[in-house]
Amino acid sequence: MTEKATQGRLEISDLSITYRKPRSDEVFTAVEGVSLTIEKGSFVTIVGSSGCGKSTLLLAMAGLIPKASGAIALDGQEVTKPGPDRAMVFQDASLLPWRTVHGNVRFALELQRWKRDDIDERAMRYVRMVGLGAFADYHPHQLSGGMRQRVNIARALCVDPDVLLMDEPFGALDAQTREVMCDELLRIWERDKKTAIFVTHAIDEAIFLGDRVVVMGRNPGHIRDVIEIDLPRPRTNAMLDSPAFVDYRRRLREYIAADLAALQMVEAIV
C-alpha cells in the first residue's frame, strides 16, 4: 500500500482515566499510570478479568472518553477525539438494524464523507472481503452473531484506518464460531497489517492473535505485564497444543487467578 500503511504507532504514557459517579462527587479511578508503546503494524491483545479497565483503555485510544492525566499519541499526534485514523469494532449490537449489510458498511463511509461515486462499490468490496457477498441485502436481524461481527469488521476496515480497535468483538459468540472468526480476522489482517489492538477476556484468543499480550490488573486498572508471543505467522490451530502455547497459557492463567484471589481477599475483608 501507499505511505498511509506505514503509519499507526501508538504511544501511551502515564495515562489515568477517572469517572465521576453519577449524582455524587465520588471519583472512581478506572485506569492508572498506564504506559505502553504499540508499534505500527503489530497486533496487540489486552487481557484481564472484568473491571480491570481494558475496555476503558481502548475507548480512550478511540478518543471516546476523556483522559484524566497522561497522554495518548498516534504518530506523534495527541488523541482527543475520534478520527479517521482509527476505527472501532464493537460487540454485537452496534449495527443499524434498519440498514442492510451493505448499508451498514456504507454508513461508515458516509460519516467520513467519502466521495459519492465510489462509495457503494467500496462498501461492497469490503462486504465481499469478509465473506458476506451473498448477504449484502440482508438486515442484521436476519444474520447470525458471527455474521454480524463480520459486518462490524468490514465497517471498520472500509474507512482505511491506521489503527483497528476491537472491544471484545467475539465476546458474544459461541466457542466454534469464535475460532473461525479468529482465523478469519488474522487472514484479513495479514493482507495489509494495520496496527490492531484487541481487547478480550479469553486467554487462548489473546495468545493466538497477538504479537504481544498486555495483561491488566484491577483496583485501579493497570498493566501487570506485557508478554511477547514468539509463535510464527500465519498462526494455525495446530499451535494451540504446542508446548510454547501451553506455556503462555499457564503464565497468563496465573496472572488472572492471582488477580481474582486478591479480589476475593478484599471482599472477605470488606
Binding site: 449490537a93 460519516l111 436481524h141
Partner: protein
Amino acid sequence: MMAAILRRPAPLCALISFAVILAVWQAAVDFGFVKAFFISSPSRVAFELVRQVKNGELAANLSVTLYEFIIGLAFAVLIGGLLGLLASWSETVQHILDPFIWFKYSSPTIAFYPMFVAWLGLGEATIIVMAFLFAVTPIYANTLSGIKNTDPDLIRAAISFGARRHDLFFKVSLPASAPILIAGLRLAVGRALTGVVAAELFGAAAGLGYSMSYYGQKLRTTEMMASLIVIIILGVIFTQALAALEARVGAWRTGPGR
C-alpha cells in the same frame, strides 16, 4: 356447522358477524319488532347516503370536517413534533413542559372546549383548536421518547466513525425512532377526528358532527346515522392506512433478535 365457520380465518368471521348484525337490524324493522323511527334500518341509511351524495350535502359536510381535521392535525404534528424534539435535546425544556403535559394527560380534553368557545366563538377556529388539543399529546410524547431513547450503542458507534450532530439526528436517531413516530401519528389521527366531531356536535354551521346533531335534534334517525356511518368509515380508512405505513417503516423490527 357453527364449528366449521369458527375455524375459518379471522376476516371471514368478521365479515359474517357484520352481515348478521345488518340482517337482524333490517329484519327487526321490516317485521315490525322495532319502529324505524328509533333505529332506522340499513336500507333506509343506504338510500339516505345516496340522496346526500346526489344533492351534494355529503360532499359539503365531509369537506368541512376534513378541512378542520387536516389543519388541526397539521398544527399538532408541527408544534407537538417541534416541542418533542426540543425536549429530547434539552432536559430543561422537558422539565418546563412537564406540568402542561401532565395536566393534558390527566384531564379530559373536551373540558377545555367552553374556554375556547369563550375566546374564539362557536365554529371553525374552536373546532380546529379542539382537533389540535386532542392530537398534540401523543405526537409530543412519542417524538420525545423516540428520539431521546435512541440506543446509546448506536450513537457511540456512529460517534466513533466521526458522526456530527446532524448525522446523529438524521442517520441514527430519526430512522431509529421512525416506528415510534408513526405510532404517535396513528394515535393522533384517531384523536384529531374525535376532537373535530365532538366540537362539531356542540357548535358548528357545517360538518359531519354538525349534521348528526342537527338531525338528532329533529329526531331524524336515518339522516343522523348516515353521517355516523361516514365518520366510522373515515376513522377506519385513516387508522388502516397508518397501520400499513407503520408495518412498512418498522419492518426491520420484526424477526428474531434485533
